[in-house]
Structure formats: structure tokens, C-alpha cells
Subunit: 244 residues, 2 copies
DNA sequence: GCAAAAGTGTTAAGCTTACACCCATGA
DNA sequence: TCATGGGTGTAAGCTTAACACTTTTGC
């Protein structure tokens, strides 16, 4: 028994990663939760996450958990806070590094993983009761997302390469809990120089956004990430161009 | 020997906190470093920090280290990133939660603590070689400070209650690596409604900023934090008023 | 007296906001 | 045919940026 144990001269906390996965479906922002299949909090909904391995960084750990649970590999993933309340886990001292991930919901095939009985998307303002301090984590994730949106063009991470302006606007409106004038919004986005109209035929080949059920066909746009990164690193700008 | 050890069924990383302490002296921003008195990296400069105790959150741990090293208790202190490279510490797997602290340099009495042979302020662009990955930590701390300044009024944390407009401007200019027109800067600050001119007699009683060596006496200002917090929580505003 | 810090206004340009009607499409 | 989503322009108000000379003070 003792030979299977890991011993240290001083006590060490356990470390986990937890992931708040935001997905956009064209009209609402959702969060992916798993139903816990093991104690503690068996049967409760919780954030996907798990224990850090000794040969991986927290980023690698979070990515691994994500892959194990969903098969998705290329997503925006960023740590935003460490939750370290001494009693946040009833088993032992566990400190968690919380990440937020942004995905196109349609890219995402939800599958229940090892320790999860079930996995499901929830609208971000209609969440079930959650295990551990996961409500706190989500609350801060939303605030963090709001702040990041003001200084990074992360809305595009929630969209396909090609999208309708109204979808982009929707994301801004949901996250910032406000509304914008359609014309003003589109004008400012295009004026940034990084959001371009897609030629209609190009657009098709991207098999772009899901079609809305009714209404006139929309112009499609794309975000020129390459140009953005180049401009960013050349420090030619002072003001963030997406500060709605 | 074995009885003094702490054992776990699965391996746990060690966890430390490290603190990037920014201090403003009226004209430059400085970072507080300690000279390590113990191995590894004995004799190198490093960020103040240390191992997390099991009965404290990372915030409490960072505060404790800060207190132990300097005696300062009320400072702005905020975690900004977890550094978790597998080999960042040669001894064992150590993951560190990095904090940034903002202090008025004049409030700060530097004393060398237990594990530190020496402690000293360095101008933030003239740092010595550093232990571990502490250069990376500082690099990110500066970037993080820059981003936070765009969405939180943290510049005031570097100043006395009462300050000259030119000092405030200096902070913005250093952090954002640019210059502003004095008149435009002051006008915009005052227009925010949270930066008020102090009556000259009041100002005296605060024994405010250090006097500059030459030049005309300056009007003193203060930041109305109470009003700011109230406005913030009542969500009466969309745009951050200090976005220079 | 001279160097350094700070006081003081105006104008032009640009950006933001508010606002309403028509068209295309699918149910 | 009607409900929904999308296309389109302009004017008023506000914010920003650029700009120079004078006063006070300590050395």
C-alpha cells in the first residue's frame, strides 16, 4: 500500500482544471455541463474538468480533459482564475485552475466521458444547481468573458469562419447585456478594417452559417485574423477597434 | 522520517505564490525583487513568494508573503496567471500562482525576509537576470497591468489619496508606452466625474505627494472611489471612463 | 535668470447616436 | 399575405486631438 503512495515533506494540495465551455448556436450562448457519475456530488451537474497530471501544464491538462470529453481540439482556451477556498472540495484540499473555452456549438459533438454520466448544453442564464463552487466559477467566467470581449476580438471564436453580421451583433448584445442599432454596429465593425464582406460564391463554399428559417438572405462576413494579428504586433493602433 | 511525510495516492504538485509588486515613486514604476538566500538560484534576484499553506487560499498566501517581507497590509493584490511548466523548478514539480500588487512606493518599507538575502526596487525596464521563469512572469504581469488599466481604475492604487495630475498622467504614459497632451488628459479625467480637485487646505492636511524639486506648485486631485464603486454597481454606464 | 512644472481655450475633424422605410424570403 | 430578417443614409451632438504662450518656483 505504502509503495503506491506519493510522499512529500510538506503537504501539497491537489490541483484540478475546470472548463467553462461557451458555445454559440446562432442565437443563444450556452454552457456545457456534465452530470457527475461519481461521488462526491454524484448526479449533480458540474463543469467538465479533472486532476492535473504531473507531466502536463495546466493548459495541456485542460485541453486533454476537453478532448477526452468531446473530441474537440482546436478551440480558444484561456485560464482566468484559480479557485482555492480551503473547503471547496469535501475530500481533500483541492485547488482548481478555471479555464474558459469558446466554441462553435455546431462543431461540438457532445459525448459523455469516463466520470460523467451525461453531458448537456444549458442556456447560460438557465443553469441547474451545480456541484462544488462551480456556480461561482461560472459567474466569474461570464464576467471575465465580458471584460475580455472589451479588449480582445474573441467574439469571432464563437462563430464560423463566415458569419452573418446579425450573429456577431447577437454575441455582443448577449455578453454585454444591451442592444445596438444594426446599422451603426455593422458600420463600426466594417470600419475596423478586420471584418470583411465575403463574395457570395466564396461564402457558399464555406458552407457557412446555418440558414435562418425566414427572411431575406444575409450578406456574409469574415474576420481577417491574420491582418489583425499583424496590426496588433506592429503596434500601429492605440484603441481596441471592437469596443462596443 | 516517514512519519513526518505527507502521502497521497496520486502525485500532487507543489504550489507557490509569486508576487510582482509594482511601486510608483512619482516618476518611474519599479518592481520589488529579492535576492535569494537559499538554493536553488541562491544569489539570483527573484520575485517575492513562497509555498502555499494548506489552511489558506492563494490570495491569503500571497498576502502573507507580502506581509512577511514588507509589513504592508492594505494593497491592491490580484492573481493574473498560473505558471505550470513541468520543469520550471529544478527541485520538484512546482506550479505558481502569480499575483500583481500595486503600492505607493513611499508607503513601502523594504526589509529582507527569511529566505531573502536582500530586497530592492528596480526600474521596470532595467531588471537584473532573474531566477526560475520569473522574467516570463514579469513580462506577462506588465501586459496584464496594461490590459487591466484599460478596464479598471487601478492607476490610483499607485498614488497617494491626493496626487498631482501629472503623476497620474505619468502612470498612464509609462504603462501604455505613449504620451498624452496635458490639457486633454486632465480634461478627460475630470470629465469622468471621479477625479476631483482638492481644496488647497484639505490637500495640505493629507501631507500629500512629495514636492517636486522645482517648478510651480500643482493643484492636487483625489479619486472618488466611493462614487466610482456606487456608479459601477448601479450599472449606469457602459463605457469605462478611464480608457486612455 | 533660467530651467522645470503647471496653468489656460479654441477649433477642426472624426466618431457616435438616433432614426424609418423598403425588400426578399419562407411559412 | 404576413411575419421575419436584412438592406440602406443622413444629420445633430459629442468627443477627441492638435496646438503655444504665460506664470510660478527653486536652484
Amino acid at each position: 500500500m505504502m509503495s503506491e503512495m506519493y510522499s512529500y515533506k510538506y503537504p501539497h494540495p491537489a490541483v484540478t482544471t475546470d472548463c467553462v465551455i461557451f458555445g454559440f448556436d446562432g442565437s443563444t450562448i450556452n454552457i456545457l455541463l456534465v452530470e457527475r457519475g461519481i461521488e462526491p456530488y454524484r448526479g449533480s451537474w458540474a463543469l467538465p474538468g479533472g486532476f492535473l497530471k504531473m507531466d502536463e501544464t495546466v493548459e495541456e491538462g485542460a485541453l486533454r480533459e476537453l478532448r477526452e470529453e468531446t473530441g474537440v481540439s482546436k478551440v480558444f482556451l484561456e485560464q482566468f482564475h484559480v479557485f482555492s477556498d480551503v473547503k471547496r472540495d469535501p475530500r481533500e484540499r483541492v485547488l482548481t485552475v478555471a479555464f474558459l473555452a469558446l466554441v462553435r456549438k455546431s462543431d461540438y459533438h457532445v459525448i459523455a466521458g469516463d466520470d460523467a454520466a451525461n453531458a448537456q448544453w444549458f442556456e447560460w442564464d438557465e443553469l441547474p444547481p451545480l456541484a462544488f463552487d462551480h456556480s461561482d466559477i461560472i459567474k466569474l467566467a461570464k464576467k471575465s468573458l465580458q471584460q475580455k470581449l472589451r479588449i480582445q476580438p474573441i467574439a469571432f471564436k464563437l462563430l464560423n469562419n463566415v458569419f452573418r453580421m446579425s450573429e456577431l451583433q447577437r454575441i455582443y448584445e448577449i455578453i454585454h447585456e444591451t442592444t445596438y442599432d444594426r446599422r451603426n454596429f455593422a458600420r463600426k465593425m466594417v470600419a475596423s478594417g478586420f471584418v470583411n464582406e465575403e463574395a457570395a460564391d466564396n461564402a457558399m463554399s464555406f458552407s457557412a452559417a446555418e440558414k435562418p428559417t425566414r427572411g431575406r438572405a444575409a450578406t456574409l462576413f469574415s474576420f481577417d485574423e491574420e491582418k489583425f494579428e499583424k496590426t496588433l504586433s506592429s503596434q500601429e493602433w492605440r484603441k481596441f477597434p471592437f469596443d462596443f
